[in-house]
Amino acid sequence: MTAPTDATTVREAVPASAAPRRFTVRGPGRERRRRRRDRAGYLFLLPWFIGMLFTIVPFFASLYLAFTDYNLLNDPKWIGLENFAEMFRDENLHQALKVTFIYSFVSVPLSLAAALGVAMVLNRGIRALPVYRAVFYLPSLLGASVAVVLLWRYIFGLDGIVNGFLGWFGIDGPAWTSDPDYALTTLIILHVWTFGSPMVIFLAGLRQIPAMYYEAAAVDGASKWRRFRSITLPLLSPIIFFNLIQSLIASFQTFTQGFVMNNGGGGPANSTLFYNLYLYQQGFNQFHMGYASAMAWTLLVIIAAFTALTFFTAKYWVHYDN
């Protein structure tokens, strides 16, 4: 491999296969090295440590509240596990779990696949790429302003443009937002539509893959699919992993979409009652902040379990360069 003439080159700096990955010094200097190593790490994490104070205090305050009866206005009363016992009896909570699980397990794979697919197409080198990239990202920029809510109504209304479109084919479209059989589907469609954020991350990740791999593969005559399987997927796997974890966490915590759908009610017929929406109703509409905190920590455990599972499987499919 030849370096460009004017580049600074470190040739054969480290034999790649035998490069020492960690400090592996033995003997009396070891302890001192470790301490120095720790100090460097902690220095980098210093802002984060200070920041944790802002996070951890409210964090444990809410953990305490999970074991209390707290209505926001009076002092919290310790009631032990009562909130958690109530969660077993609360049918709305079970509905909320169901809605959230369906939403997460359908919309996360769909939107990630869409994001990766579009990112691959856009990464291949195409004229007017910046324009396409910006356009595909547009729906993700909108946030949840009042204007966007009106837009949804206009698109998915009984006589909205989706049904107008279906009408051309003689299909009588449903009430997308007010029929309990369709409302969640509508939200999933909307979620997939805003695949812009994972797409941007995939795009950035794809550009991290050294072009030489593809060039070498092209020389070897590898097919497109083969190049995708053997180069793109493994080298992109840390980014796929990130997007997967991130999307999972975000989708378990979906709030805005459900909130906007029915002015915060979770309707029609609780078909879009997301876990976080129900938690919010309990905390801020019904002043059951103790119960809401218990719900929050339960969700944390659920998300942590799925994240841990993903981390556990990661060693089989996520490749870091070491």
Binding site: L73, N263, G265
Partner: protein, 443 residues
């Protein structure tokens, strides 16, 4: 390994430094432009008392309210009023958070359905204990009772409203249909009228439509049947039979075609401009009377305002005078006296009401309301007369929402949709509603 050593490592030169320089400069420039706003600059006002007053609404309502507050500040030197307002949803969240942090405002707008959530927990000032500071003698008994819990009064209506039935005369004239007498019509008359409109228009326009799950609507029907939705001691008064009859009545109208099909009413909210009466798909519907002006403008200016059907056929009258907006004072307010003064001013001062107009409904004090009437726009006068009429009548008392009321509203909304889509029979839905509502109240 020392850090001081000059780097022999490759130095990939990028635009990083320029980028950071540029962004740093931009940030600095903007901060300067903002003149330190938001970074703790500026003092804590001067001497004198600063009252904090909050409500929900838009910037227009704020302008009108501010005009009234300016009058107060002129008359009471040494008192300044710091105001804040939001859209109603965010308003609730911020208010709850501020109370929880012990940072509550002095005077605040309170929703009827959250009054007892706050009052029962001792967060609001009992106005009965300060009866000499706020003169409530001009309020009708109906109006005064709105914020009464037991022997205490925790708020004063900032304005009064009721629900009413609007009918689009442009539509009925087009098809030559006579509008029933709004003071005496029955629910059967409504059904017949609705079917007539739908049939005459060939299905272009539905005769009537309203949300069966809206609490205000079913409450009137319940009262007509001699029951209270919530009883005086905060229990559930409505029976399963009444819920079932209500669902069945709506479903029967839907079957006949007078009422729109399931799913017609969108789950995504909207105002008068997007309502089906404004778009011409619906000939009549129920609205809160303080929105009459908005609906009439949106629907082309030819709306009639009728009473709710069934008022003369039921066991007793069903309609009641409500209020969209109460004024309450925080129990822990540090400036109770000034807050009480301001409250008295808002309720009893004619000029204050002239400044605010009917932005929160008709003024609760009947004399003030009469004085205000001539200065109102014609549409507002229609709604005001409607309400003043109700105020003078002998209506059964209505009781404040108990805590848990919002959970009951949510349960009714969910079950009404189940019934609407035929996923549950009216009878099953009614039974389930009663059991869920009782559970919510027990908590």
């Amino acid at each position: 390994m020392t850090i001081d050593q000059p780097p022999t490592a490759p130095r990939p030169e990028l635009n990083r430094r320029n980028l950071m320089k540029a962004s740093g400069l931009a940030g600095l420039g903007l901060s300067l432009a903002a003149c330190g706003r938001g970074f703790g600059g500026g003092g804590e006002g001067g001497d004198g008392t600063e009252l904090n007053m909050v409500w929900w609404g838009d910037s227009k309502r704020a302008e009108k309210t501010r005009a009234a507050l300016d009058l107060f500040e002129e008359a009471h030197s040494g008192v300044t009023i710091k105001t804040e307002y939001q859209d109603s949803g965010p308003y609730q969240d911020k208010l709850a958070t501020r109370f929880a942090a012990g940072d509550e405002p002095d005077l605040m707008a309170m929703r009827m359905d959250s009054l007892r959530e706050y009052a029962d927990r001792g967060a609001l000032l009992d106005l009965n204990e300060h009866a000499d500071a706020v003169d409530l003698s001009g309020l009708s008994e109906n109006a005064r009772n709105l914020a009464t819990v037991g022997d205490s009064v925790f708020g004063v209506p900032a304005g009064l409203n009721a629900i009413g039935f609007i009918v689009n005369r442009t539509v009925t004239d087009r098809y030559g249909i006579e509008i029933p007498d709004g003071d005496t019509w029955s629910w059967d008359d409504l059904a017949a009228f609705a079917k007539e409109v739908t049939d005459a228009s060939g299905g272009e326009v539905y005769g009537t439509g309203f949300e069966p799950a809206t609490l205000a609507n079913i409450v009137v029907y319940t009262r007509q049947r001699g029951e209270d939705f919530f009883t005086e001691d905060g229990e559930l008064g409505i029976t399963a039979e009444t819920v079932q009859a209500w669902f069945e009545m709506v479903e029967a109208m839907r079957q006949e075609g007078g009422f729109p099909p399931a799913g017609f009413f969108e789950q995504i909210g909207g105002g008068p401009e997007q309502s089906y009466i404004a778009t011409g798909d619906l000939a009549s519907q129920i609205i809160p009377t303080n929105n009459f002006l908005g609906y009439n403008q949106a629907a082309g200016g030819n709306l009639a305002l009728l009473r709710i059907p069934g008022e003369t056929q039921g066991v007793r009258r069903g309609q009641s005078v409500d209020c969209p907006h109460l004024w309450s004072i925080a129990a822990e307010s540090e400036h109770k006296d000034e807050a009480l003064q301001l409250l008295d001013f808002l309720v009893n001062d004619v000029d204050a009401s002239k400044a605010t107009g009917t932005t929160r409904g008709v003024p609760a004090d009947s004399e003030v309301a009469e004085e205000l009437k001539p200065s109102l726009e014609p549409d507002d006068q229609v709604a005001t007369e409607y309400l003043i009429g109700l105020l003078g009548e002998d209506l059964p008392r209505s009781y404040t929402y108990p805590p848990g009321g919002s959970a009951i509203a949510d349960a009714l909304a969910a079950i009404a949709v189940e019934v609407e889509f035929g996923r549950q029979s009216a009878a099953d839905g009614a039974a389930e509603f009663i059991s869920q509502a009782e559970e919510a109240l027990a908590q």
